[in-house]
């Protein structure tokens, strides 16, 4: 069961998709897959809460990359979900025994190779199962530096986790990939689509407007929620930005890497400049994380800190507004 190349990735979905495509002969970098998959986004939904904390996301919905890659390359994904865990595991065995690595959606909570302190009930994780050895599965988890193994019962539990976004045993693989496709149209299409989504959404919760909207709300958190809850909410944003597998700065760095690669591919100076700009914006997002974490650590409850955080957010919003407005017409 060798012959599957593992690569450490910034994000689980783009890492898994890149690995599956590469195995079939379409070798794209992870940033390319993330970018063409239209992974980048921003949203803040105060009324959609998980554990009492509003949802803040720096990317598109889970599975968007899989869907968009399929659409832009004309790749069909074979996808199966299973009602019965035992039959889901039998089907997985049949795939890997026939030498076909498959993408699998799991919860991170039940995966024993994850560090304990990172095991929360999050059902949107993706990994590749590429073989079996005795009772263990051979797994290429994009979040890990090296391939890992996982006992059958643990993997079954992770695949059939319950709750929000339950994976229901989902397995997927591309039915075939185009040989030496011209990826330039896909890149152009993807950049335009992401740019439009970032700056043209007519609602305040999404895209660059969403960042400014979050800034306005965040300023009022200490008085509205009380000091402790406000710190908890700020901490959760920083976690969404840095901890949940984003490659740094809430996917801004990985997208900048994509723009850089796209700039070379299309020989487009504007894209290269936007890559540099987005890197600088990512650095500001990292500042936001540093300041936010300091607030959590020091427990200093003056509204000055919140004003400062809001200022950084507004700056990020303005910069991204400029970048994505430019990108709309740059390709």
């Amino acid at each position: 069961m060798s012959g599957f190349e593992h690569r450490h990735a910034g994000h689980c979905e783009s890492g898994t998709v890149a690995a599956l495509l590469r195995h079939q002969g379409l070798d794209l970098s992870e940033p390319m897959v993330f970018g063409i998959g239209g992974g980048l986004f921003f949203l803040h939904l105060p009324w959609l809460r998980m554990g009492g904390i509003p949802l803040t996301s720096y990317r598109d919905a889970p599975r968007a990359i899989i869907k968009n890659i399929g659409k832009r390359f004309g790749i069909r994904w074979t996808q199966h979900r299973y009602r019965d865990p035992a039959s889901g595991m039998r089907a997985l065995n049949a795939f890997v025994d026939s030498g076909r690595p498959v993408g699998v959606q799991t919860s991170v909570y039940w995966l024993p190779y994850f560090p304990v302190e990172m095991r929360f009930h999050f059902n949107g994780h993706n990994l590749v199962v590429y073989g079996r050895e005795g009772a263990d599965y051979l797994i290429s988890d994009p979040m890990a530096e090296m391939p890992v193994t996982c006992a059958a019962e643990d993997l079954q539990r992770a695949r059939f986790a319950k709750g929000v976004f339950a994976p229901r045993g989902l397995t997927y693989y591309p039915e075939g990939v185009p040989r030496d496709p011209d990826i330039r149209p896909a890149v152009r299409d993807a950049i335009r689509a992401t740019a439009r989504r970032m700056v043209d959404m007519p609602v305040p919760m999404f895209g660059t407007r969403g960042i400014g909207w979050l800034a306005r709300r965040l300023e009022r958190w200490p008085e509205k929620l009380g000091a402790e809850k406000a710190r908890k909410w700020v901490g959760s944003i920083v976690r969404m930005q840095e901890e949940i597998g984003t490659g740094g700065a809430g996917f801004r760095f990985i997208y900048a890497a994509f723009l850089q690669e796209a700039g070379d591919l299309l020989n487009n100076a504007a894209l290269r400049e936007c890559a540099i700009e987005l890197t600088a914006t990512g650095d500001r997002w990292r500042d936001f994380a540093v300041q936010g974490a300091q607030l959590v650590k020091n427990k200093r409850d003056d509204s000055e800190v919140y004003a400062k955080l809001a200022t950084i957010l507004r700056e990020c919003a303005d910069r991204e507004q400029e970048i994505f407005t430019r990108l709309k017409t740059a390709v």
Binding site: P31, H121, M143, G292, A293
Partner: protein
């Protein structure tokens, strides 16, 4: 972020020796992947989230010790579950789980019902009725 600035804050890192892939710019201005052993801000907010879990377990344990809830509530908290998630895992209704969080109801439950909770929580059946001797607020 430059490759040289990719944080390597090993201290109190929850990655436990693993590395996180970070995208950073090298000397030539090209993006590359660099492994990070940890980053202090991340460690702080992860610590905050884990402290919140421990606090919830401590509350659940206290209430179960005082007899305000059944022992099931404590074990549910140790698995970071709420009643609707436990209901989904054990294939029953949330209201039924909620009902079983009452001590006087829980202590009369037949093993058949307890078995479903034991499987959902991945615990031996006998442990469901027990509380730890020490104040154990760690998750499972």
């Amino acid at each position: 972020m430059k490759t040289g600035d990719v944080p390597q804050d090993r201290e109190q890192s929850f990655y436990s020796g693993h590395q996180r892939a970070c995208y950073a710019v090298d000397e030539q201005g090209r993006y590359v992947v660099v492994g990070s052993l940890g980053w202090e801000p991340e460690n702080i907010v992860n610590g905050q989230a884990n402290d919140a879990v421990r606090a919830e377990i401590a509350v659940a344990l206290g209430r179960a010790r005082r007899g305000e809830t059944s022992t099931l509530a404590y074990h549910m908290a140790r698995r970071q579950m709420d009643s609707s998630m436990l209901a989904a895992y054990s294939g029953t209704w949330r209201l039924r789980v909620w009902w079983h969080l009452r001590p006087q109801v829980f202590c009369r439950l037949p093993d058949k019902v307890l078995q479903r909770y034991a499987e959902a929580l991945q615990l031996p059946l006998a442990e469901l009725r027990l509380l730890p001797a020490e104040d154990d607020c760690e998750r499972l």
